[in-house]
């Protein structure tokens, strides 16, 4: 096999510092950041606020924390929201930023934020971390005994504020789910322009953790492409000096498949990180995450059941974190109360089930794991092939040729020639393979599984099946068995 490479035009440190300043100068609060003082502040944080340490502690103690979503514009409300989370056992707290902040429209945010503070109304769908700046955000961090992670935006203002995660590497989430026109080349360049910020902190003894999202499957779709992208994210982040990371593993609702992905993802991550020579990069755990559509808010019963199913999966797989929504996921941004009750339910399951240290073997997990592993290795080989050993070049060519592809993409530069449906047991299968290089025998496996469902439903699976499947779980019914008494 060729020597594996990651193209990376590194820039000199002086230019780096200039660029970092330029980034911060986009908004006045950037002035609050003094790089060395930020390092000092980070080093002054207790272990309970340092993301990677919290995760490792959770794993060592055989515990689990919910990793929720939480973002509301007014500082005081944000603090009380986070305290509510902590009270219900959450020690990994996100600072979900609003959409305008994510898009750098700070001017606009400022106006709305002032209106929020005047009226007391949450007019933004998240916490505008840039506009709030360091002083205020430190107040948030210091008022809750937990580790914080900026979501969607934050940059060095987040770090200076004491949040302890950073996303380096090729982030497919932004490319695949949030943007309309970005090209994969732009994504690669952005993550490859030598901005080794996370490395700069690491060199000074501040280890920032990251979660790997990969290419979010926004619908029932096999995870192989997503996991491939998490591996790409991992090695490119490691190249930037990221020393701690953990994968989000998207649970699509089929127990065997979910448990298989949870077992497979960190294993392959470790293997490829080592292959690329990043033996010192830690994998701090795994975080099962909920993807399929959520039961409509009106059905609180289904909402709780869905949450608790994911909690059971996380507990049975001995994960140390779980990315959980609230019972209001289908309705809108959750209130403090809906969050608390949701996470108390989760906590019950963690404390009662997780701590039983249950050892279990689920049939079909091995098969699902084998299938996914073959798919992932084949795709990665193809990518390294295309890049002639360079994973970044390979990735660019792979996306451009549809070797990496995902359905329902908002991005015009994505082929979007693939489609997924559930099989008779609710497992995700390829309906259309597009250009994803999947071995013939594996394709047959998918076809046969889909055929079982077609037999059960008495009609061919097609685009409309895929659309219906968007709701198969939120409506609390996997395909197949018709309603009782019919």
């Amino acid at each position: 096999m060729k020597k594996l490479r990651i193209s990376n035009k590194r820039i000199d440190d002086e230019l780096l510092m200039k660029k970092r300043r330029a980034e911060l100068d986009k908004w006045p609060t950037g002035k609050e950041v003094d790089f060395d003082e930020a390092v000092a502040y980070q080093k002054s944080l207790p272990d309970s606020k340092i993301w990677w340490k919290v995760m490792v502690k959770l794993r060592e103690e055989g515990r689990m924390s919910v990793f929720p979503r939480a973002g509301t514009p007014i500082l005081e409300n944000m603090i009380s929201l986070c305290q509510g989370l902590r009270d219900s056992g959450v020690v990994l707290i996100p600072v979900t930023t609003d959409s305008y902040t994510r898009l750098g429209q700070f001017e606009k945010v400022q106006g709305i934020l002032e209106e929020c503070e005047r009226t007391g109304k949450p007019l933004l769908n998240g916490y505008p971390i840039i506009n709030h700046g360091v002083k205020k955000t430190r107040k948030l961090v210091e008022s809750v005994d937990a580790a914080f992670s900026p979501r969607g935006a934050g940059g060095e203002i987040a770090i200076a504020s004491g949040l302890t995660t950073w996303n380096a590497g090729m982030g497919f989430l932004g490319f695949g789910s949030y943007s309309k026109n970005m090209t994969i080349r732009e994504l690669a360049e952005r993550s490859q322009n030598g901005m080794r910020v996370v490395g700069w902190y690491a060199d000074r003894g501040v280890i920032l953790c990251t979660d790997l999202h990969g290419w979010l499957p926004s619908s029932p779709f096999p995870l192989s492409v997503c996991i491939v992208c998490e591996i790409i994210e991992a090695v490119t982040a490691a190249e930037q000096g990221q020393k701690a990371m953990y994968p989000l593993v998207y649970c699509m609702g089929n127990m065997a498949q979910d448990l298989a992905s949870i077992r497979l993802t960190p294993r392959l991550l470790r293997e490829y990180l080592d292959k690329f020579g990043y033996k010192d990069t830690m994998i701090t755990g795994t975080c099962p995450s909920q993807i399929p559509l959520f039961p409509v808010a009106m059905d609180m019963g289904g909402a709780f059941a869905y949450l608790n199913y994911i909690c059971m999966i996380a507990a049975l797989s001995k994960s140390n974190a779980v990315d959980l929504r609230s019972i209001d996921e289908g309705a809108g941004i959750p209130s403090r109360d809906t969050n608390s009750v949701s996470y108390r339910a989760a906590k019950w399951i963690f404390d009662v089930v997780r701590e039983q240290k249950i050892e279990l073997e689920v049939k079909d997990v091995d098969e699902e794991e084998k299938v996914a592993e073959i798919e992932i290795r084949t795709i990665l080989d193809k990518i390294l092939d295309l890049g002639d050993g360079d994973i970044v070049d390979g990735t660019i060519k792979a996306v451009e040729s549809g070797v990496l592809d995902s359905p329902w993409s908002p991005n015009v530069n994505v082929k979007d020639k693939v489609l997924g449906v559930r099989d008779a047991r609710g497992a995700c299968r390829y309906l259309e393979f597009g250009n994803i290089p999947i071995p013939e025998e594996i394709k047959d496996f998918h076809r046969q599984k889909v055929a079982e469902r077609e037999k059960l439903e008495g009609k061919k699976a097609d685009y409309h099946t895929a659309v219906r499947d968007l709701w198969s779980f939120s409506k609390g019914k996997i395909v197949g068995i018709p309603p009782y008494n019919q």
Binding site: S99, Y100, R102, L103, Q105, I112, P122, L123, L124, N125, S177, Y178, S179, K180, S218, S219, V296, A297, D328, G330, A331, G332, I333, P334, S335, T338, W408, S409, P410, V412, Y463, V467, L470, W471
Partner: protein, 141 residues
């Protein structure tokens, strides 16, 4: 139907939730409409200019991320100025932030000039039926 009506779809403002509008667009096409699918993050101005260019009969907007009201500030005035008072306006999705009673939401957005306002997870067929009804009423179908 004699004439094929033109419908514009897309998510307004910075909303990245594109799946719904994609599903809707395909359903409209299957129902025989000419669909100009703008995809996600379409500015109000773009909706207007495209409506002018394509002589659209209707605009079916989506917004799930909760910022629709802000995104649409002044939209109604602009489209009137642009002489698009006759274009049918629908919007659907999670239109506000958090859990709220749809009745209020409906009032809010009708005040912003929308003819019909749909809650999350609305079945596309429902919307399409309404659209046919409204178009027929205007003698455009």
């Amino acid at each position: 139907m004699k004439r094929v009506p033109t419908v514009i779809t897309g998510t307004v403002g910075m909303d990245a939730h594109v799946i719904g509008t994609k599903v809707l667009s395909r359903a409209l096409r299957d129902a025989g409409f000419k669909v100009v699918e703008l995809g996600m993050q379409v500015t109000p101005e773009e909706f207007i200019s495209v409506a002018q260019e394509t002589r659209a009969d209707a605009i079916l907007m989506s917004s799930l991320y909760g910022m629709a009201e802000l995104d649409l500030k002044g939209f109604n005035e602009k489209r009137m100025e642009a002489g698009l008072g006759d274009v049918i306006l629908y919007i659907g999705g999670n239109l506000v932030i958090g859990r709220t009673d749809h009745k209020e939401v409906e009032k809010k957005f009708k005040a912003l000039g929308f003819d019909r306002v749909y809650p999350p997870e609305t079945d596309t067929d429902a919307g399409i039926e309404d659209l046919k009804k409204d178009l027929k009423a205007k003698g455009k179908m």
